[in-house]
């Protein structure tokens, strides 16, 4: 469905992405995982159409879309800080884009998403009255009502804490499942990437370190970077949890 071929990107002579290749299908969740500054957000921006690649192609359903401007690609993004408009209520934010479609927007048009994301009690609140998780859900709803072909999420969980994080995680999986929507997530957290996605693309210093399912990555890490940087973090976490709860509870 989405094919990324030989993508390279340089900024002022510095190569930040080198020969990136991967493919994902409809309704799949892909995580772009890697340390800060590895180029994952640049890759996300290239897919979105915000940044132009120096070389390579982005192909969606067989069509090369690199030349198509961002606003005409039909993809959409939820930013890390949500980018909600603070002068509008949660509901006004959700229906913001629909007003550009020259039709009178009614609540029933978006009710499905409001119910799905459990936003009903918060619709008339100002943005500064919402919690991090609620903001995240409003931002997702605003994006979903535009019925994007692919949903991009830039570090969607990094601003959230424990329990809320888990609830948003399951909701993201549900979105992919219920709406058959392809989702690409940028994250630097291995646990997040490996537990939420169908496929994970690990980037290190602008290059693909490994691309595969979480199981493949856990079972056969492709190089020492993945073992030391990615998997070691999980082992440390596991150890800490064992220490706290004992092996049985963990």
């Amino acid at each position: 469905m989405l094919l990324v071929e030989n993508i390279c990107k340089s900024f002022g002579g510095k190569e930040v992405l080198k020969d990136i290749n991967f493919q994902i299908g409809e309704g799949e969740i892909l995580s772009l995982l890697g340390p800060s500054g590895c180029g994952k957000t640049t890759l996300l921006n290239i897919i979105l159409g915000l940044t132009e690649q120096s070389e390579g192609q982005v192909i969606y359903k067989g069509e090369e879309i690199s030349h198509i401007p961002m606003n005409k690609r039909g993809f959409n993004i939820v930013f890390q800080d949500f980018a909600l408009f603070p002068h509008l209520t949660a509901y006004e934010n959700i229906v913001y884009g629909l007003k550009n479609r020259n039709a009178k927007v009614q609540k029933k048009d978006v009710q499905e998403y409001i119910d799905f994301l459990e936003l009903e009690p918060h619709l008339h609140k100002q943005i500064n009255q919402l919690s991090g998780g609620q903001k995240q859900r409003v931002s997702i709803a605003r994006t979903l009502v535009m019925q994007p072909k692919i949903l991009l999420l830039d570090e969607p969980l990094s601003a959230l804490d424990g329990v809320i994080k888990e609830s948003i995680k399951s909701r993201i999986q549900q979105i992919a499942q219920d709406f058959g929507l392809t989702i690409i997530i940028v994250t630097h957290d291995p646990e997040e990437a490996l537990t939420i996605s169908n496929k994970v693309l690990i980037i290190n210093e602008g290059k693909v370190a490994q691309f595969g399912t979480p199981q493949q990555i856990m079972a056969q890490p492709a190089d020492p970077f993945i073992e030391t940087f990615i998997l070691k973090q999980l082992h440390i976490k596991r150890k800490n949890i064992y220490r706290l709860f004992g092996e049985r509870h963990a």
Partner: protein, 569 residues
Amino acid sequence: MLKTTKTMRILYVSLLAIFIIFLIVPLIYMMWLSFDDKGALSGRHYQEVWQSRELLASVLNSFRVSFISAAITTILAFIIAYTIYFTTISVNTKKVFRLVVTLPMLLPTITYGFILIYVFGNQGYITRFIGEPLFSIYGFNGLLIGYVIYTLPAAFLLIANGMEYVDQRYVLVSVLMKDRPMRRFYHTVLRPLYGAIAGAFILSFILSFTDYGIPASIGGQYQVIATTLYQTMLGSIPDFSKGAVIAIMMLLPAIIAGLLLRKFERYTVSYRSTGDYETVSSAIKNRTFMVLCSIIAFFIVGIFSILIIVPFTSAYPYDMSFTWKHVQNVLGMGELMRVYQNSLLVAFLSAAIGITISFTAAIISVRTSITSRGLIQWISILTNTVPGMVLGLAYLLLFNGSSLKGTFLILIICNLVHFFTTPYLMMKNALEKMDMSWEVTGALLEDTWLKTVWRVIIPNIRKTIIHVFSYYFTNALVTVSGVVFLVSTNTSLLSTKIKELQHYSKFNEIFILSLLILMMNLVVMTGGYVLNKPKKRSVINEKKIYYSTGNGKLVSIVSRMWRWKNESG
């Protein structure tokens, strides 16, 4: 950030065109005129000016009086700011000090001179109280007092802004480490504020050096560069080339001062978090600074009180009975009311168009990726540096034969360019603090760039827009220097009309017109306060937008000023 669109490019090019036509070209033309000798380049005019004793004397006089006034102003400004930030006297008293020290900003500088005459002149109330004049108010003494009052608000706000970022916890640490008072003062207050103090001195100096209003009213025989320039251009035999040379001589120190101001900014220690700690003070310190500040405030109030006494007395100082006669006379004079309307029109249009220009400049500078957008920053530095009188003269020289001459349009353009820097920086700071993803989000929600600006950016920058309106309006209403060369009989403004009335010794009319200016400014300020009153739906912390600036002192000054206005109501 969004890719550059055609709309962004069109706006950017239009903006550049405005500043090229109304800033760069007039200045280059003026410079060319200063070297022009019947079509050939020559330094003859400069030579003549340097050989003219009167002119050199006026330059030296300007330096002398501006330097001394800047020194006094800086000390006084420091005392007031220190009292507000480093003592524990009551908050309301502090508010009163702030109010009093910034009040003169709402009047044209030309009014200061006439007020001083009524206080210290032969018939002044201080003279009558003591029995003889303390000193001759005309010339050096009058200029000195006038400049100090004029530049005190700017210097105070600059230092106060610096003090706001001094971390009070260091004073506490110094106390706990048993530092001696002077050592504590040096390390916790003086040293972090070197930049702000030096900046206040330079700003005061250059404001005095380039002001025309005060010397026009009280300069007497003591010639300064501004009066010499005025006489050269609008005297019996106007000399355009000589005028251009004098303007360049006025411009050069202003440019040097502008560069120094930017340099000194780096010396200002800016603490990231100032915390919320109690100010450490002692009863002696509180009392001492309370007395010092009270003297300064009493002096300013004492001087400006004359403005509301003279117009309401039958024949000051001989018959002190109350009367509405003078006010009724002025209000009945069609000519003066027409001038008042002119002023309001120019101030309103300057403010309305000023918002558009400064907003466009700021949004292109901060929220687009146009490659050469850095030029806007340079334009803002240049407009901040060019004195109003120099800009006005450059317009006079360039547009003398054009249809712009003697129109309201040229006055409005002059105001727009002259006062551009501060509104631009205010807008820029506000826009920088907003989420940079809004335009991309807007585009993904099928907005055009302009639509996102209209639907998202403008509603969130509303407060700053109101501040910018007030700033442009107030300054356009009080400016003398900027428009003195450009007004005509039909486009006469209140501030320049005051100068005309001086020749007929119509001081009652002068004071009433000044009061009208003051009242109008207060109305606009109050309007701004009411509109900007925090509402439930307000979420952008605009105070933060203003204070966490790293872009030039002037924006800090104004930001502090408007915050105070809002707080005090």
